[in-house]
């Protein structure tokens, strides 16, 4: 149902369009459009015979240029006049706007998901709802929580479950199941720390709040951050293995908030953590997203 399309991974690693067209020995876009359209037509016929679209997938993977192909397929869908062509687009994982991410106008629990989309170069609808609308929208969500991801109209909640699902599709969940486990373990451990931070931030009593802050700064935060620092140092600057994973995005997003809450120099004792955050923020695809994303407090 969800083929793992090896679409070249990140925008960074993608070859320029012209190079791809060259390698396919097709020099103008009209020709590639015609070639792909006819191949799409053949696939549509085969669809009825329930043959898998290996050839089409290969062409799409080889071009590694989803934005262009999405538009191309959209126009093929529009011109084919046949509903099943949309199913083909879904089958090859390139239906236009198959993803709709629903969240408040905040980074919060959705930002690492947005980072994955940005890094993988996947188009999606970044649907932000205003707080006033929430009580009304809440009833229509699976479990009264945001973020919700709609995949081809089917809604699913839990930010880390959604992020993991996307990370697996776009090769951001480690090189094997062991690395995938390390990703999950670190994300959940960071989640425990965030839970304690939330517990502190939601405390209403100013005296209790100050007590909690003291314990946090003296014990809890150093305990976790020292251990995270060690892991990242041992992995040569990555949280898992020796390449980018969604866990790096979770760290980067969390550390940005951490600096907001505890001050710019709060990461001073953890140079590897800070460097990881800066490295993620400097990735061209992520930087492009940060430059254009709506400015919100958290």
């Amino acid at each position: 149902m969800f083929p793992r399309l090896n679409d070249g991974g990140s925008a960074e690693r993608r070859e320029p369009a012209e190079l791809i067209l060259q390698s396919l020995k097709i020099t103008d876009r009209q020709t590639i459009i015609a070639s792909l359209s006819s191949s799409l037509g053949a696939a549509l016929e085969r669809f009825q015979g329930e043959v898998k679209f290996e050839q089409e997938r290969e062409i799409l993977a080889a071009t590694g240029f989803p934005g262009f192909l999405t538009r191309l397929l959209s126009s093929a869908v529009a011109s084919s006049g046949w509903g099943r062509s949309y199913l083909l687009c879904q089958e090859i994982g390139m239906a236009p706007s198959r993803y709709k991410l629903i969240y408040f106008n905040a980074r919060g629990r959705a930002e690492h998901i947005r980072f994955i989309f940005a890094y993988a170069g996947v188009e999606y609808t970044d649907h932000r709802i205003v707080k006033e609308k929430w009580p009304e929208i809440k009833r229509s969500t699976p479990f009264g929580m945001l973020p919700v991801l709609e995949v081809d109209g089917k809604a699913v909640c839990q930010s880390n479950a959604v992020a993991r699902f996307l990370a697996r599709q776009y090769n951001l969940a480690g090189k094997d199941e062991w690395e995938a486990l390390q990703c999950d373990s670190l994300v959940d451990t960071l989640g425990d720390l965030k839970q304690v931070l939330w517990y502190y931030r939601s405390e209403q009593d100013p005296i209790k709040k100050e007590e909690r802050r003291a314990t946090l700064l003296k014990e809890t935060i150093p305990f976790y951050l020292k251990k995270f620092e060690k892991v990242i140092s041992e992995n040569g600057g990555f949280s898992v293995g020796n390449s980018i994973t969604w866990t790096d995005f979770v760290f980067a997003v969390s550390l940005e908030n951490f600096e907001l809450i505890f001050g710019k120099d709060s990461l001073e004792p953890y140079p590897h953590l800070r460097k990881l955050k800066e490295k993620v923020f400097a990735l061209p695809s992520i930087k492009a997203w940060i430059d254009k994303r709506p400015q919100t407090e958290f």
Copy 2:
């Protein structure tokens, strides 16, 4: 590193040993041991050439009898006198006692992991530590938390990350990535409810505790359980898809505790949830585990 061994899945679906031996046209155990040992020898040679052990994997998967094979491989390892044979056992996912699960003497956050091991028929060390030893052991754990799973001596924490890792290996994480996402989403949503229950149970002030109990029983619990009930009803008695997943184990274990806290008839309004719990508990492999597991309060 961790091949997903299709070892026939559950103990329930496994064919009896004699039938397997028959189907392999080998009628006595000595012959199959000799045959597999020679095949193991060939694999060991190929190991140096870094060839994958497809053939050996196929034989092992076809026999679908891990307990017997584990013993067989142990003896092969012992007799081969070559350290690398242990690596082969690891490669095919059948090294004896590759797993050690470390937790308190409780069901708690480890029991769904134990259910996975029981259902998949995987041998492991169920290491239970006494509370008095915890402060000392805590320092040696990755993040000061239990459960910890040791895989070939490497420790990793976070119960759901560990459970998911095992579930993926033993075909308990849904039929595709979409079902895997549903599993993760439900497990995390149930985790949210468990967090609220823990918040109530850890409240010291008796008046506040009673207030919380009232809100829980009137609002929070019905909100979640009604939605879970609907999902399970729609999936014909499973939490995800139309077959057993680790999420069913997470539900079964949680619902046992739920009945302990809120009384036997607390699941009365949720017949599908109760049936799911009973179905999981009645699986022969799970029942065998429940019959022999240490009796603990939670």
